[in-house]
Subunit: 215 residues, 2 copies
């Protein structure tokens, strides 16, 4: 038995569980997004800004994935939305089984939007279906305009690209038009948003898009 | 045969090859660093600034590790130093075998400093010894002051922390004293540098440190 065949089995098993997660979300009419990015691109900040805008309009639940600590769950908990923290304890991505175990502890009744914030890693989470409707990849302007070409799998597997920290554009070496061109070269069907979680710019556009997709 | 035992075998095999790489570096009196960070923290920019300061004083050779593209090798090649690009083709970290294969194509004669720039990933490269003298972890101020606590293995396994993009401190939500405190909580023996590859601040300190460690 080779390592490759074991890896395939692991991914097949993951896809089976992801499909069950997907059916559970569907049965409950829940729109689910899996947010992926490098560490520090602003996943949790985006989630905070999103909850601020949408709270009272739709019901949101959250899974936070982290290698260590429950810092992110504590940040989200302040907004009084249901949140479960998954600590992977060194693991570099969430998988469908971890999400399934977390879902077993959550009441999905009445939830419209489910957000899974993945571990900060622009490589490994690309390969793991969690049962989401779509992947949202976040990229900070500080990371540079070449990243879609250097980490193509994540941009290929995502449906949405959010370019965050646009308030820092005057201070960093990032050509946002080139960034968008590079992203669309990898995945021509990517829908792109530009946001700043500091100034709030672009957050309304992003939230309007979510509201349109609520089932 | 369980997956865990296979993983252990993979790491044991990696450590064996890493030891051979280490002996090769030692035999040639080469000081070797393995630079690790998230995507876009500034590994290649730091390397460019370092080469600019040290070229003519010491002989530098480079291995560039990337998931895709040879952009980074092309950036380094302009400085007329020997460089080999390893494209992992989706792989989330360099391993000792990849480095060993690259070394087979390089002339180490007269080299004083060998820099291995790892794949942009703050999780997976932490577990892989490549045969380096030490790991240098780079963290950008834009990534936030909580990252050492959230990704502890990388900070535990590194000897040097370089806090990069300090020119952006006025514009980002990052308390650099807290960042250093968090890093030292994980690894009290970390030596810390602060740099900006844009303004050049701190680059001389870092280069002086390298020169002191040349064998």
């Amino acid at each position: 038995m080779s390592i490759i065949s074991i890896e395939r089995k692991v991914l097949e098993k993951n896809d089976e569980i992801a499909q069950k997660n997907r059916e559970l979300f569907k049965k409950n009419n829940i729109f689910t997004i899996n947010i992926v990015s490098s560490p520090g691109s602003g996943k949790t900040s985006l989630l905070e800004r999103t909850i601020e805008v949408l709270k009272g309009k739709i019901n949101i639940a959250v899974i936070e994935g982290d290698v260590q600590t429950d810092f992110d769950a504590k940040r989200v908990e302040k907004y009084d939305v249901p949140v479960v923290q998954i600590v992977t304890n060194g693991g570099c991505h969430l998988d469908a089984k971890l999400v399934s175990d977390a879902l077993a502890n959550m009441d999905l009744n009445g939830i419209n939007l489910f957000v899974i914030e993945n571990v900060g890693n622009l490589v490994c989470p690309a390969g793991y279906d969690l049962g989401e409707d779509l992947k949202v990849v976040l990229l900070s302007t500080t990371e540079g305009d070449d990243k879609p070409l250097k980490y193509p799998k994540m941009f290929r597997n995502a449906s949405i690209l959010i370019i965050n920290k646009i308030d820092l554009l005057p201070y960093v070496n990032c050509n946002i038009e080139l960034l968008k061109k590079n992203a669309l070269q990898i995945n021509p069907s990517l829908e792109i948003f530009e946001t700043s979680c500091t100034s709030g710019e672009g957050i309304d556009n992003w939230c309007n898009w979510i509201v349109k997709h609520i089932k």
